[in-house]
Symmetry: C2
Subunit: 392 residues, 2 copies
């Protein structure tokens, strides 16, 4: 996989998770980069999230160190001390400033960080840095994920080849506002800080903030994007043509990554895209789509190949958005199953359509122009199994 | 079971559901009664719900006819015609006014009512009326319920014996605002209409509106209470000592019935009571308790005997209520598992406590005086199984 100039990657086994799995990873930019970030809106925030939120005020970053297996959340003052120590040790080993090192954690909440094991691995982590080891990072940040998630894009801006690479992890606790979701994007584009902020915000709004697996939101969600400028293009500024192309590329990337997250939802067998259109406004469309996407009854019906559209109608009804029952049309993979609020009698065909691995539900409210798409997955016995046994 | 004076009950097989199960029931008062009702807040309302909401404006009622197997929701104009016809036929057969007959339906959404089968059974339904057949009604309104839910209470008011009896059904789609939930309460108390309204509102607020199984809300929820005055007590008026005793008795009854509903939640193995106390206000307490009660991660952890209190903290965090992380205490069946926002290290003992069939979680926010209790159940593979296969 292509990776941007000047970025190095590494991952090691620190025995934070089960033995035999990489669980500590490092992303390093040879040159200080501009950085933008978005963080969980959960009022209970993990220590490293609080640390990153403070350090990102400078707009500068050079390294991201991340562990899986322990979330360092609900760990009090010791948790914050541990996060700071990890940043300090990493900075010292790499020869950079402490507040340019961003620390991320994901895993079980409320357990003290196994600092001995982490301390002993930071030198190895720095020694292993390489240009082509981004997939190791993607693997090391997995928790209940079943496959690593990484992609790269190359584009030309100002005659220069610009590379954008992204890794992320998802699985459980995925809901609006980026539940246990980590995503790190790196690029060698030369872009100014406010433009980078805007590109990230645009991207997250229609990708990570529009996916849901179980409606839970984690204490650790973090999306970071670092741009080190080594591609040598003229500085990208907000509202330019180049900005729009760069921003679209980042949005495409986060949309692809968020799709991977949903596909890999705990126990999921199907990827489900729910679109509500012609709602009163975009907010209503989003709210309606989320009500459907979060309905356990809808999700289990999709799993069971049962085109029980009444559950979709019920979810629309309790979402609280503006609807006229007698005007609602619903399509399932292109098949009209509800016309003007009533069934079209094509449930058997619809049940067949549900056997696809990719399900597309379109709800047309026939009111105004509001539209929104939300990605989710079905709900299966395996989701329950995975989450009943997570710590045991 | 004792039943109030002047009320008769009956249930028959109308083959709306599977053969061999009663699915059409009637409750009849020999004398016209005062009636109060509360209905689903879902914007998609079943036809009979709309009909009842119109007729209850008179404050008078004499019969309730109810079927399971078909919700008569999303059935357009024909659905409303069918509901009216059921009321008319019942009224004619019983020799009472049409708009004194309340019609309720529960079951699959979006299918036409099997009117031929219903029409042919109304005479039999009336012929079977008896004083002691209230349990048949409770059985006939079941959908995925596994046991019938009925209770009676006798109390003295004004020297007269007053009986209150209630039946309900629940199972799936149970969430605030009384998701697919039907409850019929009958009493021979002599009470004025506004007092009856208030007693019902008090009762529902802290019982049916504080239970959740899967967060879904149905199109058909209905609670009705009829009081025919045949006990002969002096009229109960609002804000009297007698009113308070009557109101408390109704509240106790609905609390017991809502407990039965949660115990019988689809696939549930445990009854879970979640109390949030010392919140900023009651609204916050309720919101926090619901966030915990609706968290799939909390519900699966309880099922798996895993005292993963981090998931409770995360749910509190994303509920949006006022919290101070470092002040939160959490108790599990009396065992303190979180102290000042951090684990007490007693997870193993806590896992043992989770093997009980009744789980009690208390969250103390140490802010002000707001408190609320919510009832829920665990989430199991069987919930998924039941709902994936509901129509197949």
């Amino acid at each position: 996989m292509n990776t941007p100039k000047g970025f190095l990657f590494s991952a090691v086994e620190a025995a934070i998770k089960k033995p035999g799995r990489k669980d500590l990873a490092l992303i390093f930019s040879e040159r200080e980069a501009v950085i933008s970030g978005m963080f969980t809106k959960n009022n209970v925030k993990a220590a490293p999230v609080k640390l990153n939120m403070k350090w990102i005020e400078s707009g500068r970053g050079q390294a991201i160190i991340v562990n899986s297996g322990n979330a360092n959340a609900c760990t009090g003052k010791q948790g914050m001390k541990d996060a700071v120590e990890i940043a300090e040790m990493t900075a010292k080993t790499l020869g950079i400033k402490t507040d340019r090192v961003y620390v991320c954690s994901t895993g079980v909440i409320g357990m003290p960080m196994p600092m001995e094991r982490i301390r002993s691995k930071i030198t190895e982590l720095a020694d292993n840095l390489g240009r082509r080891t981004i997939n190791d990072v993607a693997a090391a940040i997995m928790t209940t994920d079943t496959f690593p998630k990484a992609i790269s894009k190359v584009m030309k801006i100002d005659g220069k080849a610009i590379t954008i690479s992204g890794v992320c992890k998802g699985a459980g606790m995925i809901c609006p506002n980026m539940a246990t979701m980590l995503c790190f994007i790196v690029t060698d584009a030369n872009i100014d800080k406010s433009a980078l902020d805007k590109a990230l915000k645009n991207a997250v709004q229609k990708s990570f903030n529009r996916i849901t697996i179980d409606g839970d939101m984690s204490t650790n969600d973090t999306v970071l994007i670092m741009a080190n400028g080594l591609a040598g293009n003229a500085l990208i500024k907000k509202n330019s043509k180049e900005f729009n192309r760069f921003s679209d590329a980042v949005s495409d990337m986060t949309y692809e990554l968020s799709k991977m997250i949903v596909k890999d939802g705990e126990g999921a067998t199907k990827l489900v895209e729910i679109e509500v259109k012609n709602a009163k406004n975009e907010r209503d469309a989003e709210k309606g789509a989320f009500a459907i996407a979060n309905s356990l009854l809808v999700k289990t019906a999709i799993y069971g190949n049962d085109a029980n559209w009444g559950r979709i109608m019920a979810a629309l009804g309790y979402s609280g958005i503006a609807i006229k029952e007698g005007m609602i049309d619903i399509f399932l993979n292109g098949l009209k199953i509800v016309c003007k609020g009533m069934g079209t009698g094509r449930d058997k065909e619809a049940n067949e359509k549900l056997k696809n691995k990719e399900i597309n539900i379109v709800v047309d409210l026939h009111l105004r122009k509001g539209a929104a798409k939300v990605l989710t997955c079905d709900l299966t016995e395996d989701y329950v199994k995975i989450n009943a046994e997570y710590r045991t």
